[in-house]
Structure formats: C-alpha cells, structure tokens
Amino acid sequence: MKKTIFITTALLLASSTAFAGKMVMPSDAPASYEAECASCHMAYPPALLSQQSWKNVMSGLPKHFGTDASVDPKTQAEITSWLVKNAATRQKYSETAPENRISKTSWFIRKHDEIKPDVWKRAGIKSAANCGACHIDAAKGNFSENNIKIPAK
C-alpha cells in the first residue's frame, strides 16, 4: 500500500514537472502575432499569462513596456482573441500578472529564485524577456529544467 502511494505520488510529481516545462505554442497562431509581437521579443506562448493579463497588455500597446507597439484595430482584435482563447487556465498560472509582466508572476519568480541578479545582467541574457538565452528551445515552447544552458557571459 505504502509503495503504491509512493509510486502514485512520484508519477504525479513527474507529470506536473513535465507540464510546467511545456508551454506549447498553439498551431493556430495568427500570422500577425509573429509579425507584430515577435519582431521585438520572442513569441511568448499564450499560456504564460492569464486572460485578464493578456487583455491588459493588449489594451495598452501604444505604451508597451517603454515602447510604442501600436497595431491597427483589426489586428489588435485578432491577436487579443487568440491570446485570450489560449491563455493560462491552471490556477497556478492564472494570477493577474503585476505590471502585466510574465517575469513578475509568483510562479516565474519562484521558478527562477536561484538565479542571482548579476546573472540576469550578462550580455548574453540582457533581460528576463529573453527566455531563449537560457531555455534553448523556448521558441518551441520547451522550458524544461533539463534543457537549460546559462550563458557564461
């Protein structure tokens, strides 16, 4: 009995870790998402933010983290509805992000709490927005802890 519980727990843990590592990009992303958003930063999988957070981000594009990222109304509606449809659903990820930043969510901070401030500042990283600097397959939605390479500089 004890053994069964142990195995079940282990399996549950393993599967939840695997889930946390995967934020697959839905295959139906509109072309405008790549063109309008991913010109300046990686195309973040929508599951990294909650519905409310995406609505907040998309309603403030003319002042988007210090830059003008404005898009025409039709494109704005198209991208917003796709982001909201594919937003985070699990409670763990569904908080409204402070300042609308993925990097300010409690799960992001907890996941990165062992990274020292000077590491973030390395030229090869520059910013918490640059997921792919360390998560080498971030563009494919793979954020697994087994798939990380932190730049030395």
């Binding site: 991913a38 010109s39 300046c40 930063h41 990686m42 003319p62 983290f65 210090g66 830059t67 003008d68 990222a69 404005s70 990283i125 520059k126 910013s127 927005a129 640059n130 600097a133």
Partner: protein, 127 residues
C-alpha cells in the same frame, strides 16, 4: 472558362505588381511630402539621440547591414539596409508602421516626411 482563368490570373498579377514597392518608390513618396532627401543628414539623424534614451542605432547599429539585437529584449533584428535585406522598404504600410512606432520611441513623436526621406536615402547608400 479558360478566358475567365486568364482574366483572373492577369488581375492577380496586377495586384501583386501594384503592392510591391521598391525603396526608390518609398523615397519618392516621402520626398513628395517634403524637400529633396539628404543622405548625410539622414545618417546624422540615425546616429543621434533626440532627447530620449535611444537612437535608431541603439537597436539597428551603424552600419545597419547585419543582424543586430534589440537593446532591451536581445531579440535578433534583421538588417535594415536594403543592400543587406532586400525585403526592407518594399511595403509602404509596413515601413510607415515601423516609422511610427520607432520614431515615437526615439523622438517621442512621429517623424516628418523629410526625416523619413533623409534616413531612407542614407540607408539606400549603405553597402
């Protein structure tokens, strides 16, 4: 039936030709709203800060003839000079969209037709 197909094909080809612009077309269009372009003034404008934190070169570097990185996010930006990236300045709506965004970031306002003409005329000389 065949005639319909030919007509449709011709219409499609016309549409394709109409939408494809060249950097020279865009330059003419900007010059029409200002005076003659000055590549020297364009280069100076490109490299200077205009009262805010960034210049055009902060992200595109000088000369902008190679892949560069966004100053904040580190995302790779393809070369801006048409000689290094033939897709640049071939779509007026796209060029205008980026001028609007990036001029707001660098100058805190939209660029004038003269400023766009100057910068584009200089970019067209970058090897």
């Amino acid at each position: 039936m065949l005639l319909k197909f030919i007509t449709a094909s011709l219409l499609l080809m016309t549409a394709l030709f109409v939408s494809a612009a060249t950097p020279s077309d865009l330059l003419k269009s900007y010059e029409a709203g200002s005076g003659k372009a000055s590549p020297a003034r364009g280069e100076q404008f490109f490299n200077a800060k205009h009262g805010k934190e960034w210049s055009c070169a902060s992200c595109h570097e000088n000369p902008p003839n190679h892949d560069t990185k966004h100053i904040v996010t580190g995302k790779v930006i393809k070369p801006l000079a048409p000689s290094a990236n033939p897709a640049r300045f071939t779509d007026e709506a796209k060029a205008d969209k980026w001028f609007k965004r990036n001029c707001n970031d660098v100058l805190g306002r939209e660029c004038t037709a003269q400023e766009k003409a100057d910068v584009l005329s200089w970019l067209m000389t970058v090897k």
